[in-house]
Symmetry: C2
Subunit: 292 residues, 2 copies
């Protein structure tokens, strides 16, 4: 790259905290000289600084994946046993697809709950993203609003990703689990994409049942934590900040709020499927944004 470019400037690519590091590295001695040799010319766009965010107590906010105003207190009073009885062929087909996938997963993971949860969340974060994306492109193509459903589905995807970010703080998946997730995502993303294109009512019903199974898996997880079959451990810091949990919370509290989240996603997806089943479009009914 050339330094004659009007908008270029020299910047130390090793200085991660670029906004302050560049001018305050006087005391770094020989390390500074080493770094100087590695200086590269980069464009003037280097360094669009993110806003500086602090917690209520004045300490720096340490998460980039969510912001303080996205933290919330989960409504754990939700009915975790609610089940949508399959009535139509569409319902039954969706139910049996989920059942057919559930048994191999239970056989594979048995009572290794955290391992199971990690795989489950990599799958559960897909439908919201696929649905949100397809509704977004539909909204653009048809020049019409989505009734908030794009946002509601993307919120679901983000929430599921936050569950995963919480679990990987206490468990790093092994290579064979990574390979499994890679393969499952490849198949599930494409299958769900096609299912949503072909029949949103089937796709949302499948997600509804998937979430019912997630709730039931987390109930088993919680039971094993409560009856001592599994050791309880302190809650990861990210979970305490995301769900506004007390500082002394444990994994048990985390599993309880995650289960409540899944129960809310179950409701949203069965509702979305119901809207389609009645011959309506999602946009006709305002989405329950922020329902968790």
């Amino acid at each position: 790259m050339s330094t004659t470019m009007g908008t270029t400037r020299v910047f130390n690519v090793h200085a991660r905290n670029w906004s302050t590091q560049a001018s305050s590295s006087d005391s770094s001695g020989s390390e500074k000289n080493d770094d100087n040799e590695k200086k590269l010319t980069v464009s003037s766009y280097w360094g669009v600084t993110p806003p500086s965010i602090t917690k209520a107590d004045g300490s720096a906010w340490k998460w980039n994946c969510f912001r303080p105003w996205e933290a919330y207190q989960a409504d754990t009073s939700i009915d975790v046993k609610k089940h949508h009885t399959p009535v139509t062929w569409n319902d039954k087909f969706a139910y049996w697809i989920v059942q057919a996938c559930k048994y191999p997963a239970h056989l594979y993971f048995q009572r290794k709950h955290i391992h199971h949860a990690v795989l489950l969340e990599t799958v559960a974060a897909v439908p919201g993203m696929v649905g949100g994306m397809l509704l977004h492109t539909k909204s653009l193509r048809r020049f019409e609003q989505s009734g908030g459903w794009i946002k509601a589905l993307l919120e679901e995807a983000e929430n599921e990703r936050m569950h995963l970010m919480t679990f990987i703080d206490i468990y790093r998946p092994k290579w064979h689990e990574r390979a499994l997730v890679f393969a499952v995502q490849g198949v599930f993303f494409n299958a769900y994409f096609l299912a949503y294109l072909a029949s949103p009512k089937l796709a949302h019903r499948i997600t509804g049942y998937l979430e019912e199974e997630a709730v039931s898996s987390y109930t088993e997880f919680l039971n094993d934590l409560e009856n001592g079959a599994m050791e309880d451990i302190p809650a990861p810091a990210i979970a305490i900040d995301y769900w506004c949990l007390p500082q002394n919370s444990t994994l048990k509290d985390v599993v309880r709020v995650i289960r409540a989240d899944e129960a809310h996603h179950r409701d949203i997806n069965h509702f979305a499927s119901d809207i389609h089943c009645q011959g309506h479009e999602l946009k006709e009914y305002p989405a329950p944004i922020g329902y968790h």
Copy 2:
């Protein structure tokens, strides 16, 4: 459907405001009887009610596509002439792709600015969604955080969609424009998806240059509004609420804030491309979430 299902209840599918309408339709007379005949049995999931939101003055919030806390005041002081000089082959390739698409669009729309803006926004809302979705699936597959980039890119997509929702309030596209948007989206979405998979640095650079062209188009739009070549009209209500504009704002004010938004997206995308050009991954640098 059967009424023997434990969780079903009868609901009037014509009652759009289901939470209140059902009990307050005593005065609807013969229309009520007609509706009763069309009653259908639906699942208990019918009616996951969205939260009731009011504006600061106590009146009901009327937009489903965004919420009061997503409204913001655009930073119109941003440099609207900033240009990333193409240096590498990657930059030059991206620049010429955008130039090659720009001329036919200018030829087609000439000075029909609103028509041009509508088409532009249906295209501009695609890259953020594609990038956000691909980073989301990568985050799940690799069990790692994205440094906030998923959110930053999805925010961009949503912001562009809000521009479109604003313009369609004052202009309804004709059938041939709809057909054009349909075709352009089909090609652009898939092309950008493949480009992002193959080279995120190329994809973000293309978006950076696309946003530069958007800024320049809106400058022409603004000039024609300012010199009277085009009649100024009152700002759509959705724009007043989204950008917290004064009640007496006009289209000129709306175009000014939209141009500022595009300039911010330009910065984010050139920055993202720079990160890749330096051999880094986006997650290593916190995303400028809420940069607009």
